[in-house]
């Protein structure tokens, strides 16, 4: 009995709220609902901050809503292959989208590079990381966090960098691997790893200024460029919001945000 009562009351209140809302905002909702749509987007973890900003602007400018999921590119690939309802995919590399294209999982010709990622060595503490990355050779730390190099392009770039510096063998016992670049950041931010290789966009604000700690922007010559490609997935075929988002990503406003966070284009 009590269950039924408690289940009914919220509904009553909800329907009251809904009818009030419909009366007050009805005209507004009706006018934009005709065109506005939702698009589900899988976003590589390193692109979290810029994409949140771009999505907010996108929603304001077009009326379309972007539903964002953040995670590891490899995980998204597996989910997409198994029927995940994503319509647009912003990967952390160019191989995964190319693979999807070859397998016929995307809208033909929709693949493009939306950003070129930059790798940084970062510490949450100031004055730990020097301007040349010498700290890697000097040691004096227990843990160096990287994204899993098998799964994440930034992790692979970190390994390339350490090898190019001739420091990989000395450093490998101290490596802790995160599931993706977001977790690699978390290991450093929580202080459990003094240093970590993360994406530049994670540690700078929208004007490219370091938010805290100390960093070394790894010279691009030390690793294969991290070209990040986007595609419209098969599930986004013919959807106006998906097409609009992809177009928006290539527009000046979005590109300004992407550059602001330190990505090359």
């Amino acid at each position: 009995m009590s269950v039924r009562l408690s289940a009914r009351w919220p509904f009553r209140r909800l329907s009251l709220v809904l009818s009030l809302a419909a009366a007050g905002f009805g005209p507004l909702v009706a006018s934009s609902a005709a065109r506005a749509d939702e698009v589900s987007v899988a976003v590589a973890a390193n692109f979290t901050a810029p994409m949140q900003k771009i999505a907010a602007q996108f929603e304001k400018d077009t009326g379309h809503k972007a539903l964002l999921s953040f995670g590891a590119t490899g995980k998204f690939y597996a989910q997409i292959k198994n029927g995940a309802p994503f319509e647009v995919f912003l990967a952390a590399d160019d191989e995964t989208p190319a693979r999807l294209e070859k397998e016929g999982g995307i809208v033909a010709g929709s693949r493009f590079t939306y950003a070129i990622g930059k790798l940084v060595l970062w510490s949450a503490k100031p004055a730990i990381v020097d301007g040349q990355g010498e700290v890697l050779k000097q040691g004096g730390f227990d843990h160096l966090s990287i994204a899993n190099p098998k799964l994440a392009p930034y992790g692979a770039a970190a390994v390339e960098t350490m090898k190019a510096l001739g420091a990989y063998d000395a450093l490998s016992p101290r490596l802790v691997q995160a599931e993706n670049i977001g977790q690699a950041y978390q290991f450093v931010a929580s202080g459990n790893a003094l240093l970590g290789f993360v994406a530049l966009a994670q540690v700078v604000d929208e004007t490219g200024k370091l938010k805290g700690g100390s960093m070394w922007v790894v010279p691009p010559a030390l690793y294969t460029p991290i070209r990040q490609d986007a595609v419209v997935l098969a599930k986004g075929q013919g959807k106006a919001a998906a097409a609009a988002l992809v177009k928006y990503l290539q527009g000046d406003k979005a590109r300004a945000v992407i550059r602001g966070y330190g990505y090359a284009l």
């Binding site: 799964l151 691997q177 995160a178």
Partner: protein, 226 residues
């Protein structure tokens, strides 16, 4: 195709972790369960709820707080450093601490039930025979609660073997140190190595089934005999 050396390392590590965790939990959980089974204290409900928290908390919550608490800026991290133990995240002892918390209800609850089932009568009889509290515990309570200890050991061990979220949060995925089977499966799946993932994941299913089968079979036999 079968297990790779990496897979074997993960299996070995997982078994070590589960065995250590179970041993620690039996030592720490027994007095807690005994207290819970016997106390008239009003704190019983609070302690009982705390012990059961890991049943309902997502492992990521547990892992997240452990990462913060055991890190250099956390209370736990400062304590372990002051004791000269260093920091626990990304280490085997850190996984043991996390697993002990994670598996607590699976050990404490069966023990508590077993102790409660004994009732007060055998203890009173022992007391009239002038048995001291320790004597009573080892000579009367432990033998009577034996099925509870078997269940607690099996469940504690099996539940720790299946641990994933907590390790992912504080483990750091280090081969031979913190990369347990569940994380290795996750890596295989993410890297699209489905065949290897199947070997390990299928192994886990078989293992879990056999453990539970042994548990239920022994229970059925006991209740039939008893």
């Amino acid at each position: 195709m079968t297990f790779s050396p990496d897979d074997w390392a993960a299996i070995r590590l997982t078994l070590e972790l589960a065995a250590t965790t179970t041993a620690v939990l039996l030592l720490l959980g027994t007095p807690v369960a005994w207290w819970l089974a016997r106390t008239p204290s009003r704190l019983k409900a609070v302690v009982g709820a705390v012990v059961s928290l890991p049943l309902v908390l997502p492992p990521t919550v547990l892992g997240f707080y452990l990462l913060v608490l055991l890190g250099p800026n956390g209370v736990g991290g400062q304590l372990t450093q002051a004791l000269g133990l260093g920091l626990l995240p990304f280490s085997f002892p850190g996984l043991v601490v996390a697993s002990v918390l994670y598996s607590t209800p699976f050990v404490v609850q069966p023990l508590q039930q077993a102790f409660e089932a004994i009732g007060t009568r055998p203890l009173e009889v022992a007391a009239t025979l002038r048995a001291g509290p320790w004597d009573t515990f080892f000579a009367v309570v432990l033998p009577l609660a034996r099925p509870g200890f078997v269940t607690a050991t099996i469940l504690g061990f099996a539940h720790t073997v299946g641990e994933f979220g907590v390790v992912l949060m504080i483990g750091g995925n280090i081969p031979e140190k913190t990369r347990v089977v569940s994380v290795q499966i996750y890596d295989h799946v993410e890297a699209l190595e489905y065949a290897q993932a199947h070997w390990l994941a299928g192994g886990m299913v078989v293992f879990s089934f056999l453990v539970l089968l042994a548990l239920y079979a022994s229970k059925a036999r006991r209740s039939y005999v008893g």
